[in-house]
Structures are given as C-alpha cells and as structure tokens.
C-alpha cells in the first residue's frame, strides 16, 4: 500500500463518516432534546435522495434540485411533527417505535407508488465532475471532496447554532429542563417543531448530496438508519460532538475494513460498538 492509496481511503472514510454525521446529528438531537426514538429517520435520507433525483430530472439542474428540495423537506418535517410526533412526547418508547415503524412502511410504499422500485443514478454536476490527480494512475473525484467540505461547513454551522445563538440557548434549555424553560417563556412547542424539522432537513440533505455517489434505490434508508444508531450509541445520546467523532470513526473503520478484510467488513462497525460498550456503556460523550 502506497501513500496515495492510503490517502484515497482516508478521504473516502472521511467523506462517508461526515455524511453519516449529517443523518446521525438529527437523530441524536431529536433523541436528546425531545426523547423520541425515530426509526423513520432513515426514510428522510431516502426521501432526500429521491427528491434530488426527480427534481434534478425535472429542472435539469442538481443545484436547483437541492435549493428546492431542502425547503420541501423542512415543510415535511414540520408537518409530521405537528401531525404525529407531538402526540408521542409523553408516551413510552415502545409507542414511538411502533408509530415510526409504521411510518417507514408508509414512506417506502409511497416511494414505490410515486417513483417506482428501480435503481436510479444521479449525475454529478458538470462543474464538479473532474478529479484531482494524485499519482500517475490514481486520482480523486472533486465531488467527493465537495461533499466532505459541505458536511464540515454544516457541522460548524450546527455547532455555532447550538452554542452561540439565542435559538441554540433555548434548545439547550429545553433539552435540560422542559418545564423550567417553558416557565421562563420559551415556546417549547415551536422549538420542538423547529428541531424536528432541522433533523429531517439534515438527513434529507445528506441523501441529496449522496445521491450522485451512492445512486438512488429502494430501502436505502434502512441501512443508513442502523449505522446511525451505532453512531449514536458510540457517541452518546444527545451529543452532537460525540456523533461527529463516532461518525468519522465508523467511516474510517468501514472503509479500511472493506479494503483489508472484505468478508468481515459488514461486522467491523458493530465490533467497534462492542468495544465502546465494554469500555463506556453510555457512549463516549454522555450528556451531563
């Protein structure tokens, strides 16, 4: 293995990990702040990918598809929270599992009705379709670097939002003590709707920008969802910082696992989880 090859794998692992982070951060925020187990979170990733494919086909522009797709998913998130999820805040996790499992079936079937069951490819925007040569015969696609860049930008924005803004302060207050925050005049209902919509939009955006790399196919959400659960378990529920670290760790484990031990790569991320559980049953960054 020479240096360029290792570099490519590192970049791939980083890109995969950061993409996972976008999905997992929404999952961990909704867990941490609203106490909701959302099995349907993977479906938002799938919806994002399919939206990117169908809108890009309609408008002939990938960028326009994303610009139109993201607001659509924000509206979807707000609607779902108002209509369904708000009834689950005081219920046992079991009912959250039940309802969100039902939602998965609904989303998968609606996808089948609206967009069919075929696998589709989305082409990389022409502007970003080149690659950067690393050695004589190895090069790295620009688009993957752009994905990583976007994800890092969003991670930084998320950090700024939660730590530095007034809205973030309200989110943190609401997550540590709902009643007290409400008594201080914070509109918790509105806040929850916003947080949920933010989670949906992040997952859908991840699906959109991943579409040109991973293609668009039925049940693509389920796989991402389960890996994101592992991310949340490793990172610690509610910790965005933990989710970032765990995502990158899993991205690297998976990528290098596939190169070094292809037959056992599927298990490598779970073995990582076992190790973390043995060491810290509540994840690397348990929220105080």
């Amino acid at each position: 293995m020479d240096f360029a090859f290792v570099l490519i794998q590192l970049l791939n692992g980083l890109q995969y990990g950061l993409l996972l982070f976008l999905v997992a951060s929404g999952l961990t925020l909704v867990f941490g702040i609203m106490g909701i187990v959302n099995l349907a979170h993977g479906s938002f990733y799938m919806i994002g990918a399919y939206l990117a494919w169908s809108l890009a086909g309609m408008m002939d522009s990938f960028a326009a598809a994303i610009l139109l797709g993201v607001p659509l998913t924000v509206i979807l998130g707000m609607g779902l929270e108002r209509l369904l999820f708000q009834h689950l805040y005081h219920r046992d996790h079991l009912y959250q599992v039940l309802l969100t499992y039902g939602l998965i079936l609904v989303f998968e079937e609606l996808r089948s009705v609206l967009w069919g069951d075929d696998v589709h490819g989305v082409s990389v925007p022409a502007l970003l379709s080149g690659s950067i040569p690393l050695t004589d015969n190895l090069s790295y696609p620009i688009y993957r670097l752009v994905i990583s860049g976007f994800c890092l930008l969003l991670a930084a924005a998320l950090y700024g939002l939660i730590q530095k803004t007034r809205l973030g302060m309200m989110i943190r207050a609401g997550s540590s003590n709902r009643e007290m925050a409400q008594a201080l005049g914070i509109n918790i209902k509105m806040l929850y709707t916003l947080v949920f919509a933010l989670g949906v939009a992040l997952a859908a955006f991840a699906g959109m920008i991943a579409a040109p790399v991973s293609s668009v196919y039925p049940n693509m959400g389920a796989q991402v969802l389960i890996i994101c659960f592992v991310v949340v378990v490793i990172g610690g529920i509610g910790s965005v910082w933990g989710a970032l670290l765990a995502s990158v760790l899993i991205g690297m484990t998976d990528t290098f696992g596939k190169v070094l031990l292809p037959e056992y790569a599927g298990m490598s991320t779970y073995l990582l989880m076992v190790l973390v559980l043995l060491w810290r049953p509540e994840g690397l960054f348990k929220r105080g």
């Binding site: 009834h87 009912y95 089948s112 378990v233 037959e263």
Partner: protein
C-alpha cells in the same frame, strides 16, 4: 388483564385450532401453522418486552440463528435428527444470548433498543457476507427433521397435517410453560424489575442476573420458533435475520397488548392474517401490491389510539378520558 373467562376461551381456541385440519384446505392449514410459529415467536418477545420491560428490536437474531443451525447441521439431502438439531439450535441461541446479554443489559431504554438492533444486524452480516453463511442466496433444507425413538418414527413431519398439530402442541406447551414461569417467584421478580428496578435492587435482588435469565429464555424460545419456521419453509436466507422480522414481531406484541401472553399470540394471528388479506390480489387487485401502505397506516393508528393493544380494547374504550401509558 386476565379475566376468569380467559382460560376457557383459550381452551376453546386450542380445540378449534386442533380441529381445523379436518375442514381446512392445505393452503390455509399451512398458513395457520406459520401463524402459530409466529405466535411462539411473539410470546417469547413478550417475556422480554411486556414482562421484563426490555424493548428489543433485534429478536430476529435468535429466530434466524436457530434456523441457520438447522440448515447447517442437516445432512444435505437426508433428514436431520430432531433430537440432536433442536437442542443444538436452542443451545446456540442460549450462547448468543449469554454473550450479547452481558453487553446489551449494561444499557437500558433507548440504548437497549439500538444495541439489540445493532447486534442482530451484525449477525445478519455474519451470514450474509462470510463464506460460512452461504451468502444472500441462503440454504435449502430438503428433508424435514425426523423424530425417532430407536428405529421407529414417532411423527412424520413431512405430512403437513402432522406438522400442523406438532406446531400447535409446541405453541400450547410454550404458553403453559411461560404461564408457569411468570407465576413463579422468578416471574414476579421480572415484573418487579419492569415496574421499578431500583426498588427491586434495594430489596436485595441481583436484577442483572434476572434480566440475563429472562433474555436467555426469551432468546431460546425465539430460537424454537426460528427452528420450526426453517423446518416448515425448508429454506433459510439472511432475510430471516433482518430487522424487518424484528420489527414485525415487535408489532405483533404491541398490537396484541404487551404483558399478556395470549395477547401476543393474538397479535401474531391478526398481524399475519391482515398481511395476507391486504396483499390478496383477488380481493384488492392491483393495489394489493402496495399492502404495506395500509399496514403502515394501521400500525400508526394503533400507536396513536390503542395504548393497550387489542386485548385492552375494552378498557381503552372505557377509559377514554384518563391519561394512559407513558413515563419519563
């Protein structure tokens, strides 16, 4: 939730089920046999979810593992011996439960849900990716296992009616066995753990050991269901370990009303018969292809409207004004 009438109703149900092969067609006999296997599976999960308070989203791991043990242990074209393969399958489930139990039981609540799911997914990849598992194509089991004493065969499981009664007998035994377990001090301790684990621990119970025992027992009974399913279908593939199977069986338990063994069994009946009805092309024509849409809406409606499942339907209607369910 158990009334005085319940044992009588259950007895009637078993008698009706036992009589069914005399009147039913082959297709329906095999369908009900499949439903009864799922009822065993659902009851095993109910021990964990409904009585011990541990919500597992990875129960398919045991179901699939036992099926794969049968497929791997059976000779390629001859019949396997039930006396050796069944204990082997249940033993494998017990060992898997012991190993994963030490890890998953260190967690609780949301974590438990996610970690059990992750472990079942790990096992999925073991059978899906490694050369040992036979890949995504799966493995055929050409002959049904034999039940012999000496040289005489006790039951011929190749006969679909005999197989039906065999499964009915096992389902009834599992129900009676779990009833005994739950009425014992052990069962009471489990219910205590579900209600208030801290208090049980303060009373001097080693709750971890109780939970581990419940987890192992539940896993082995799920293994029994998985063994029977592999035996009936004559085929295993990684799909039987998938999280859709775990999700479906959890739906059955919640649908029926958790913390009620016959409720779990009822949930299995309703779930599978609903699935068969909704996907019936001669009734619903082209929309039958999209039966999961109706199923999903049904599940969402149950989650929102029926906090105690189907067996609690009566009390739910009676207590509409009361706040129900839910803690933390």
């Amino acid at each position: 939730m158990r009334s005085k009438l319940t044992p009588l109703l259950l007895l009637v149900a078993v008698v009706l089920l036992a009589a069914f092969p005399f009147v039913g067609e082959k297709f329906y006999i095999q369908l009900i046999a499949k439903v009864m296997i799922m009822a065993i599976f659902a009851m095993s999960l109910d021990l964990l979810v409904g009585y011990t308070g541990l919500v597992s989203l990875g129960h398919a791991a045991f179901f699939g593992l036992a099926g794969y043990v049968l497929a791997k242990a059976a000779p390629q074209y001859a019949a396997a011996n039930l006396w050796t393969t069944l204990p082997l399958a249940l033993g494998a489930c017990a060992v898997f439960a012991l190993l994963t139990g030490f890890l998953v039981l260190r967690t609780s609540g949301i974590y438990f849900i996610m970690v059990t799911l992750a472990f079942s997914q790990m096992l999925f990849f073991v059978f899906h990716d490694t050369p040992f598992g036979g890949g995504s194509d799966g493995i055929y089991i050409y002959a049904k296992p034999e039940i012999k004493i000496g040289a005489t065969a006790l039951l011929d499981l190749e006969d679909f009616k005999v197989l039906y009664w065999f499964i009915l007998g096992l389902m009834t035994l599992v129900y009676l066995f779990l009833r005994q377990v739950l009425d014992s001090n052990f069962g009471r301790a489990l219910i205590g753990i579900k209600t208030n684990e801290h208090r049980l621990r303060a009373l001097g119970f080693s709750t971890f050991r109780y939970k581990l025992a419940s987890y192992m027992l539940s896993g082995m009974l799920a293994g029994l269901a998985g063994y029977l399913a592999a035996l009936q279908f004559g085929f295993v593939n990684p799909e039987i370990l998938s999280w859709h199977v775990s999700g479906s069986v959890l739906m059955m338990v919640i649908l029926g009303g958790m913390g009620s063994l016959h409720g779990a069994a009822l949930g299995a009946f309703v779930f599978i018969l609903l699935q068969e009805t909704l996907s019936n092309q001669s009734w619903f024509g082209p929309i039958a292809k999209h039966w999961q849409l109706a199923m999903g809406i049904f599940i969402i409606a149950v989650a929102l409207l029926l906090p105690h499942g189907l067996v609690g339907l009566g009390s739910t209607l009676g207590n509409r004004h009361k706040e129900t369910g839910g803690h933390d």
